[in-house]
């Protein structure tokens, strides 16, 4: 593989990290049956606050912590409004996505375009020496490794622990979960907050690493929506989510590279990521994947279906009241 290609893949992995963290956070939240539609705005506010905190304290740890708290707080508002006050989650999420974006702009004013601390690069000693793979995956900062660990951990938690059973059950059939002794609304609070905190960390991953700093035109604006779409594309499964995120980022990179090679109006090329988003959602929702599955030998079909399952958690967006 050429150096340029390996370098590009390395950059893609780095650049996609916040998207991965945010999508996994949202996956966890939605698995518990709650939709946090505020992603786009929460990421901005968390990115700004995380950078501001890191800049003021000169500590990226504090920055990340503050960002996580912001994300968690926004998520808490959604959980509270949905569970205690029976508000429509989508409506609250939408208002918050607008409000937090404006708050980020307003409060972030003093922090625009000033230098600040960044998460340092830390190649993993032995792994980064592996040819090609080492450079692509193990020559990054801690946030990137955290995203790998997060994917693995969330997958293990969801599918191999007792708590994971409860998490998924709450999003699939809260009545049944209640009958098995799971405190449904408590679980929903917990996972919404955890998911929100991760969304916040994703914000910090932007402002402290990938798009370091805070800017007047926040460069991560729009990615929150893409993260929400990736969760759907990823069928609420951590592995497929990370795959979806990388695919999307790779395609976005290709589009950018196309500019110098194809003769096509630049601004229209810029629409490609969005067209891509629509196409992937079309593919998932209109059963194209299911049709592809049917071409496989019967034995493989079931396993494949489990891997490719794209049904949302059955109770997503609903309320749970006892009895």
């Amino acid at each position: 593989m050429s150096d340029a290609l390996v370098n590009s893949l390395n950059s893609i992995v780095a650049a996609t990290t916040p998207l991965v963290i945010a999508s996994i956070g949202e996956t966890i939240t939605e698995r518990a049956g709650v939709i946090n539609l505020s992603l786009n705005g929460s990421i901005l506010l968390a990115a700004m606050a995380g950078f501001a905190a890191a800049q003021t304290s000169n500590s990226v740890i504090i920055g990340i912590g503050v960002a996580a708290m912001i994300g968690a707080a926004v998520a808490l508002i959604i959980a509270f409004a949905a569970i205690e006050l029976r508000r429509d989650q989508v409506a609250i999420g939408f208002v918050l996505t607008i409000l937090t974006a404006d708050l980020a702009t307003f409060l972030g004013k003093p922090y625009v375009n000033i230098p600040g601390p960044r998460i340092p690069n830390m190649p993993i000693p032995l792994l980064s020496d592996i040819p090609v793979v080492g450079r692509i995956f193990f020559d990054h900062d801690l946030m990137v490794y955290f995203s790998f660990a997060l994917v693995l951990m969330s997958w293990y938690w969801m599918f191999h622990t007792r708590y994971g059973l409860a998490l998924r059950a709450v999003g699939e059939n809260p009545q049944a979960a209640f009958a098995r002794g799971t405190k449904v609304n408590y679980q929903r609070y917990i996972y919404t907050i955890i998911g929100g905190a991760l969304v916040g960390v994703a914000g910090a991953a932007y402002s402290l690493s990938v798009k370091a700093g805070w800017f007047a035109n926040a460069p991560m604006d729009g990615d929150g929506w893409i993260a929400l779409a990736i969760v759907i594309f990823g069928g609420w499964h951590p592995f497929r989510v990370i795959l979806g995120a990388y695919l999307f980022a790779a395609l976005r990179r290709i589009v950018a590279d196309l500019q110098s090679t194809v003769d096509f109006p630049l601004v229209l090329l810029n629409t490609l990521p969005w067209i891509l988003m629509i196409l992937t959602l079309m593919m998932v929702s209109s059963g194209t994947l299911e049709r592809l599955t049917r071409l496989l030998p019967a034995r493989l079909q079931r396993q494949f279906r489990n891997v490719l399952r794209s049904d949302p958690p059955a109770a997503i967006g609903t309320r749970f009241d006892k009895n």
Partner: protein, 374 residues
């Protein structure tokens, strides 16, 4: 004390602290406030469809006029058309549109003037600094959108780079790769333009080791700084503001900057004296000392990233340039034939120089540059 006060308005397309274009104008306003007694600036930052889509130039100008502004600077070609319209609405106020050419074209009302700095000169120097530093022979240029101004500015950088690569760095001009990528607007707008950070990374990934900026913001400096910390040998050259290097000084080779205060001060003094007349002004730097903030509208500030030996070579180039400009006011250094446009049409024959007006309206990039011309 009211009659002592002189209020002028400043309309900025980006934030006043963008480390780039808008900050340079804002600082120009402060410069005037400092040096002209009683001068007070009103300003409106980030007037652009992304940040303040609900606000029009007319809204802002009418608020300024309400407050008593007598001169209003609209500091982007983005305001060119609107300034013309607004100037007709308020004939008693002087309007200065930066980088426009209404006066040159003859469409301007008498209370509208144009001003622009000859940034092409520092651009030539910046191109040279890039060529002296590059190891891979690949220089990336992150451009905004495609128009005559951005073409002539990026082409100047290319000419400087090509010349120094051959004459000072000992390379072969044929081997120099100079690639322009347009992001789509003066600064990145998420979802609409290319992302400057990602694009800078893409350049470095592809083996470009110096990335120059033609846009209003300085992401490439941050990226180069990050990569230097990771042990890569890469550099950036921002644009516009003296503070452009601040985000990562060690990765910055220098910055071609504006010092608008010089021009603004003289315009306001003329208006105060009643001698101002509508004109199109393309202001040259002070060749005696380009970095003299009292006299020169534009200059090139050296960055920490430039090695001492390259700095010495660069000084030789600058001397050569200054010597030429002292002799010739009707063209720029290195804008001499043989020069071809990108599609091969001849811009200047051997021995010809390209006139200032032809440079101003440059229709394509130059032959040898990679990237779209329109």
């Amino acid at each position: 004390q009211d009659d002592e006060e002189f209020i002028f308005g400043m309309v900025l397309v980006g934030p006043r602290d963008d480390r780039g274009w808008s900050q340079a104008h804002y600082e120009g306003g402060l410069y005037v406030e400092e040096r002209i007694p009683g001068a007070r600036m009103l300003y409106f930052e980030s007037l652009n469809p992304s940040d303040t889509p609900e606000t029009t130039l007319m809204d802002v100008v009418s608020l300024f006029v309400d407050e008593g502004a007598q001169v209003i600077f609209t500091t982007s070609d983005a305001f060119e058309e609107d300034t013309n319209a607004v100037a007709r609405e308020f004939p008693d106020v002087v309007f200065i549109n930066v980088s426009g050419d209404d006066v040159l074209v003859g469409t301007a009302p008498p209370n509208l003037g144009n001003v622009m700095a000859q940034i092409e000169i520092p651009r030539l120097i910046a191109g040279c600094a890039a060529a002296l530093t590059t190891q891979t022979g690949k220089i990336g240029y992150l451009g905004p959108l495609i128009n005559a101004e951005t073409r002539r500015v990026s082409s100047s950088a290319y000419l400087g780079a090509r010349y120094c690569y051959e004459n000072y760095a000992g390379g072969n001009a044929e081997d120099l790769e100079f690639k322009v990528v347009w992001i789509g607007f003066w600064f990145p707008i998420p979802g609409v333009t290319l992302d400057a950070t990602e694009q800078s990374n893409a350049f470095f990934d592809d083996g470009f080791d110096v990335v120059m900026s033609g846009i209003d913001t300085a992401e490439m400096v941050i990226v180069a700084g990050q990569r230097q910390q990771e042990g890569e040998n890469v550099y950036a050259i921002p644009y516009n503001s003296l503070e452009g290097c601040n985000q990562a000084p060690e990765a910055c080779l220098g910055v071609p900057y504006y010092n608008w205060g010089v021009a603004y001060k003289s315009i306001i003094e003329e208006v105060q004296a009643g001698t101002w007349e509508s004109r199109w002004d393309w202001v040259a730097p002070d060749y005696e000392d380009m970095n003299n903030l009292e006299t020169s509208i534009t200059g090139f500030a050296l960055g920490e990233g430039l090695s001492e030996e390259n700095a010495a070579l660069l000084q030789e180039f600058i001397d050569e340039l200054v010597a030429y400009q002292m002799e010739n006011q009707d063209s720029f250094f290195l804008w001499q034939g043989p020069l071809n446009l990108q599609d091969g049409t001849i811009l200047a024959e051997e021995g010809e120089t390209v006139s200032l007006e032809d440079i101003w309206y440059l229709p394509q990039l130059l032959e040898g540059m990679q990237g779209d011309s329109e």
